[in-house]
C-alpha cells in the first residue's frame, strides 16, 4: 500500500490505486482485509468496464465491417498505385511525326544553308551594282510623267521648292537630292 493512502486515507486505497489494480491485475493484500475497499474496487472495475464497452461500441458503430472493408480497399488501391512505375506523358506537339522524319521529299539542312547564302550574295552584289551603275533618272521618268504638265503650274512648283527649303525639313535634304525635281520633269516633258 502507498504511504499516502496509509496517512491520508486511514489505510484505505485511493481511486488511483484501484485503477492500477484494474489495469495491472495486481491485487493488493489490503483488498482481502477491507470490505469497503473491496467493494470500491468492484465498483471501479465495473465502471471502467462499462466505459470500455461503451467506447468500443461507439467506434464500432461508426465503423461497421462494410466501412472497414471499403477502407481496406482504398488502402490496397493506393498501395498498388504507389508500386506502379510513374507514367510520363509526352506533350503531343513536342513529338515530331514519324512520317515527317522518314519522308524522301524532306529538304536537307545543307541545301537550306546554301540557298540562304546564295540569296545574301545576290543581294550584296545587286546593291554594289546599283552604286556603280549611273542611273539616268531623266530618261526613266519620261515615260511616267506625261500628264504632269497639266497638273502643275509654275507657281505650284515654286511653292513646293519653297516648302522644301524650310529649315524643319533639312533632315530630308539628302533624300530630296536623290529625288528628281518636279520642275525638271515638267521641263523635260514640255520639250
Amino acid at each position: 500500500m502507498r504511504l499516502a493512502d496509509v496517512v491520508l486515507r486511514r489505510g484505505h486505497l485511493s481511486d488511483d490505486a484501484l485503477v492500477e489494480v484494474w489495469t495491472t491485475g495486481v491485487r493488493p493484500v489490503h483488498l482481502d482485509r477491507c470490505d469497503l475497499c473491496a467493494e470500491r474496487a468492484v465498483e471501479m472495475s465495473r465502471w471502467l468496464e462499462d466505459v470500455r464497452v461503451l467506447g468500443r461500441a461507439d467506434a464500432d458503430t461508426m465503423f461497421p465491417e462494410v466501412r472497414l472493408a471499403a477502407q481496406r480497399g482504398h488502402v490496397m488501391q493506393r498501395l498498388a498505385q504507389l508500386d506502379r512505375p510513374a507514367k510520363v506523358i509526352s506533350f503531343p506537339a513536342a513529338r515530331p511525326a514519324l512520317h515527317d522524319l522518314q519522308s524522301p521529299h524532306r529538304v536537307s539542312r545543307g541545301w537550306l544553308a546554301a540557298a540562304a547564302a546564295a540569296g545574301l550574295m545576290v543581294g550584296v552584289v545587286s546593291v554594289e551594282l546599283t552604286h556603280l551603275w549611273p542611273f539616268d533618272f531623266v530618261g526613266t521618268t519620261q515615260s511616267v510623267t506625261a500628264p504632269a504638265s497639266a497638273a502643275f503650274s509654275a507657281e505650284d512648283v515654286q511653292f513646293l521648292d519653297a516648302m522644301l527649303d524650310r529649315p524643319s525639313l533639312g533632315a530630308l535634304r539628302a533624300l530630296d537630292e536623290m529625288t528628281p525635281r518636279v520642275a525638271d520633269v515638267v521641263l523635260v516633258s514640255n520639250r
Binding site: R9, H12, S14, D15, D16, V19, E20, T23, R40, E43, M44, R46, W47, L48, D50, V51, R52, L54, G55, R56, A57, D58, A59, D60, T61, M62, F63, R67, L68, Q71, R72, H74, V75, M76, R78, L79, A80, L82, D83
Partner: protein, 225 residues
Amino acid sequence: MTGADPIVSETPREADTRVAVGVKAFQAAGQLDQAREGYAELVERHQRRATRIAYHYLRDAADADEAVQDALVKAYTHLGTFREELPFEVWFTRILINGCLDRLKARRRRERWIARPTIDSDGVERDPAEHLPSRGPSPEEQLLHRERQRRLKAALGQLPERQRLVFVLSHFEGRTSREISGMTGLNESTVRVHLFRAIRRLRSLLSGSAVVATPGKGRVRHASR
C-alpha cells in the same frame, strides 16, 4: 499440422513481425504483388484497433478514416525502416498517432479561419452517422445506449488531448504503460499520471448522470473518496 509447427504457437506480436519481415523482403526483391498481399494481412489485423484509436483521438469519423488510411500507406512505404526488435503494433501506432497529431494541428489552423461546424449542447460535433439506426434489442435500449455513448463521447471530448490518447490506448485497447510509452514517446510515469487524471476527470464529468450504467444492473455509484 503438428505441435512443432512454429506458426501454431506464435504470439500475435511474433506473427506481425514475421509478416512484416516477409513484406520487407518482397519489397527489396521487387516482388511487389506478393509484398502487397502480405501487407494486406497486417492491414486486416490492425485496422479496427487503429480506427478506434484514431476515432476517439480525432473525434471525427471521416478524419479518423483518412488518418488510418494514411498511416497504413505510410507504414508500407517506410517498412524498410521497421526494426524487428520492436513490435510492429507499437511502430505502426506511433505512425498513426503522429498522423493524428498533424491532423489536429491542421484542424486548429483551419478553425481559426473557418466557422465551426454544428456543435451540440455538450460541445461535441454531431456526426450525421449518429442519427442512423443501429442494431439493438429494442428501440428504448438503443436510445439509452446511444445516449450513454453520446455522453461518454462528450466527456472524452473534454479531456486534454494527451489524457484522451493515453486513456484510449490504455483503456479501450488494453495497452500497458510501457507499450503506451513506446507508442507516444511519453515517459512511463507520465503515462500513468495522464491515465489517472483522465479517469478522475471522466468520473467527475459523468457523475450525477446515468451515463455509465450497465443495463439491468442499475446506476453505478461513483466513489469520490
